[in-house]
């Protein structure tokens, strides 16, 4: 699996846009809305390689923070000029309100691409990039408020271990969120989806990335991943409660959510 992603890292984002016709961006936006993080949240994004979730998290938290500060200003009509200036300073110093995201990936190439993207897009604070294995995370117990894994868990050899690790590093009250390919519910769409996956995607991989085999592997790994209900049970087995899932695009992807209570 490692070698697949080494060769895939550079062209990852281009391929994602081409294969999903840009819809993967919508899926990730939905994930963030479901998460609805407030400033001060500590997020661990596993298999987050090129940073898509991390950047969205930062944007979300930043806008929530701006709204918070503006609301505060509105409520205090009798503020002195000094107090108003102080709150602007506060916004400048802590635009994220102590929110942080740690991006963890087993593949240094993907992290490198992510770091370059962050620099290019102007993301500097609140971001850390750590190499690590989802089955054995390099973090202590009960450290994070939210754990996300977007399109990464299907590549893990022992999914149950990854789920157990997720449970371990989350604080009590913490939330587990997984965005992953799943089983299509509609039989007609399922046929079209299969046709598209097996016929078109490897060709796209060959033309855009010069790599048929990696994208053939991708399509096969999607088929091997457990369907919605089975994955829900696996998450419950790891100790999570109030586990449920939401299908997107007729089940092409699903967001599974669980809480450590």
């Amino acid at each position: 699996v490692y070698q697949v992603f080494e060769s895939v890292a550079r062209k990852y984002d281009v391929m994602n846009d081409s294969m999903s016709l840009g819809i993967h961006r919508v899926w990730k936006d939905v994930l963030l809305h479901k998460m609805n993080p407030s400033p001060g949240t500590l997020l661990l994004d596993v298999a987050g390689g090129t940073g898509d979730i991390a950047f969205r998290f930062i944007n979300y938290v930043r806008s929530v923070r701006e709204r918070q500060l503006r609301r505060k200003l509105k409520h205090h009509q009798n503020l002195s000029w000094q107090e108003i200036a102080d709150s602007y300073q506060e916004e400048a110093i802590k635009p994220l309100g102590d929110s942080q995201v740690v991006v963890c990936d087993i593949n240094t190439e993907m992290l490198k691409v992510g770091r370059q993207k962050a620099e290019h897009l102007g993301y500097s604070e609140g971001l850390s990039w750590v190499v690590g294995n989802a089955e054995e995370l390099p973090f202590g117990d009960e450290k994070f408020d939210v754990y996300t894994v977007a399109f990464g868990i299907r590549n893990v050899t022992h999914i149950d271990l990854a789920l157990q690790e997720a449970y371990r590093v989350l604080k009590p009250g913490g939330r587990f969120l997984c965005l992953e390919f799943s089983q299509v519910t509609n039989p007609v769409l399922s046929r079209l989806y299969d046709l598209y996956s097996f016929q078109i995607i490897p060709v796209l991989g060959e033309i855009i990335a010069g790599d048929w085999k990696s994208y053939q592997y991708l399509v096969e790994s999607i088929r091997r991943f457990p369907p919605q209900e089975e994955f829900k049970e696996m998450i419950e087995d790891a100790g999570f409660l109030k586990v449920d899932y939401q299908n997107l695009t007729s089940g092409i992807v699903a967001i599974h959510s669980g809480f450590k209570l």
Binding site: F198, V203, L204, E206, I207, K213
Partner: protein, 229 residues
């Protein structure tokens, strides 16, 4: 398409007719946008060559030297070339000039892509041989590896092999050239390449590895390539 079965040779990928059609179209566009995407040129050659490759193979079978090549399947690789031996050969011999060509243009025969989408392993070898012999074409025609040189060689190869990829490359390659080069191309180089291509025997029928000591001029005469302008 799912399992590892059905592979005729290492690296073989079984593609459905729909996939081959998409690959042909996609690789043509990709190669047009970026002519240095050698992998796309290779894919285009494989997906469009299916009608022509059997003819090439038959030409080889009907020639004594060609059929020996088909049987022995020689591969041109840096590891198997006796580089120092070639360097010691007299000036003007095939081996010496080929080595000079490789060093001057900083290319290596090892960068030729292996065939992936050809569904017959003998034909896969034929297209492989064509790719590996390409540098020797440059040597025999005296053309460098810049855009202009490549286009001239493509014209020669198009006439010689009839491969659609060569024809497309010959027709569309000049898009990337400026007016002055186009003029030289049209007035001198292409006519010479076409005449030579028509006159010459099939270049795939020459066992180059056994002719390193032969002077280039003599080999040109034997094959039927006119001296370069």
């Amino acid at each position: 398409e799912r399992d590892g079965g059905g592979r005729l040779y290492p690296g073989h990928i079984r593609a459905s007719p729909l996939q081959k059609a998409l690959l042909a179209a996609g690789s043509a566009l990709a190669a047009l946008r970026d002519p240095y995407r050698h992998d796309m040129v290779a894919v285009l050659g494989e997906t469009t060559g299916c009608l022509v490759l059997p003819n090439l193979r038959d030409k080889m079978r009907n020639d004594p030297e060609g059929s020996r090549i088909l049987q022995e399947r020689p591969r041109i690789r840096l590891a198997t070339l006796d580089v120092e031996g070639l360097r010691r050969l007299p000036e003007g011999t095939l081996g010496r000039e080929y080595l000079r060509f490789l060093e001057d243009n900083k290319v290596s025969p090892d960068t030729r892509m292996p065939a992936k989408f050809v569904d017959d392993e003998e034909l896969a070898y034929v297209i492989q041989r064509y790719r590996e012999v390409h540098d020797l074409m440059h040597t025999l025609l005296g053309m460098p590896t810049n855009m202009l040189g490549e286009v001239v060689v493509k014209w020669f190869e198009a006439v010689q092999t009839g491969l659609p990829m060569c024809v497309l490359g010959a027709a569309f390659g000049p898009i990337h050239l400026n007016a002055r080069k186009l003029q030289v191309l049209a007035t001198e180089l292409i006519p010479w390449a076409v005449r030579s291509g028509r006159n010459a025997n099939c270049v795939l029928n020459i066992y180059y590895e056994q002719r390193w000591e032969q002077p280039v001029a003599s080999l040109r005469e034997e094959i039927g390539i006119f001296p370069p302008p």
